[in-house]
Symmetry: C2
Subunit: 177 residues, 2 copies
DNA sequence: AGATACATGTAAAATGTTACATGATTTT
DNA sequence: AAAATCATGTAACATTTTACATGTATCT
């Protein structure tokens, strides 16, 4: 299960409550793996039964108490074991591509609008990533060893969004006559 | 549900049996939407109850008989309705990116090998798409209106695979010291 | 004789999404 | 006073994956 490993990576970087994890899945780690708080709480429960993490109740004043989850030695082992497993080559899975393919059987004008909307969405995401990169890694040559993986994954996000924007532009150029 | 619509698109292009659909999901349509025969048969059953398709038993000699599925007027309406629905901006969901991000907590050499393997897989897929494009669309300027959507989706696949190969190269350049 | 292609399903388990549910505190 | 943030969960439903199940015909 991949969410388990995404959580292990995130908790290895910094221990956190379910709520804080859910926030991270809205940001950084969520750039390439989405998860809702419902999913996160469920998986955290299982991970605790499996002894991959332990939780400590942290009392707070002016805020509800929280349960901070910490990776155990077993959790670290599991994460290391997982990094040794080969990842199958990842494949595109895209509703949008199905829709483009179905252009001849649907509402052409609506699909063209959808392509423009898709392009705008990817453009916004691209700008978001670029702003993030400019802020956190102003000098790409000087990124520390520790920050390098997060930086490189952000680069992957930038590449992906750029290629999507370019493709949408190609679609519009070819279809808008 | 997206598989339903992918099947409607495929059957609109050409009526087919469950088995033939499964073959298509290994090829063309499966470039951007994967489905196994188990999933396909189950959804075909539901689509028939929902009257989006009807099936005709076709007797064959020298081969088992097959059930050919045909899109109904209701099915065509549903497909048209779906093309009018806006598609949410699609997001990357990548096990591999999680693994790269977890580089510092796992087996570095293994992850580097995995990156090279990933690059090779995307290269192979890229070559596969390119060969397909060269064979079916030798002259991109002359693609017919009917073939245009399938061609453009293939272009999207080529762009995606190319960007993945490039990213893997960037990863190796930054991490292999 | 064995492997591959054709052909269609069921069932269980794992995952993921959406809706429901609650309550305190802080900011506007 | 209302909205947003902090905080944690349950339940129902949908989807996907993996394993099980069977049988014919063609090709090597």
């Amino acid at each position: 299960m991949a969410l388990e490993h995404a959580i292990l990576v995130s908790l290895s970087e910094q221990s956190a409550s379910g709520y804080e994890l859910a926030r991270r899945f809205d940001r950084s780690i969520g750039f390439f793996w989405q998860a809702t708080h419902q999913q996160i709480y469920k998986v955290l429960g299982r991970m605790e039964s499996d002894k991959l993490i332990v939780s400590e109740l942290v009392e707070q004043h002016g805020r509800p108490d929280k349960k901070v989850h910490v990776v155990t030695a077993e959790g670290r082992d599991e994460l290391a074991r997982w990094t040794r497993e080969p990842t199958p080559t990842e494949r595109l899975r895209s509703d949008f591509a199905v829709k483009v393919r179905g252009l001849g059987f649907g509402d052409r004008a609506a699909v063209l609008q959808d392509i423009a909307r898709q392009r705008d969405g990817h453009r916004a995401q691209l700008e978001h990533y670029r702003a993030n990169a400019a802020k956190n890694y102003p000098d790409p040559e000087a990124v520390s060893e520790t920050d390098l993986p997060a930086y490189l994954v952000l680069r992957g996000g930038i590449r992906f969004e750029q290629s999507q924007v370019d493709w949408c532009q190609e679609l519009l150029a070819a279809l808008e006559v």
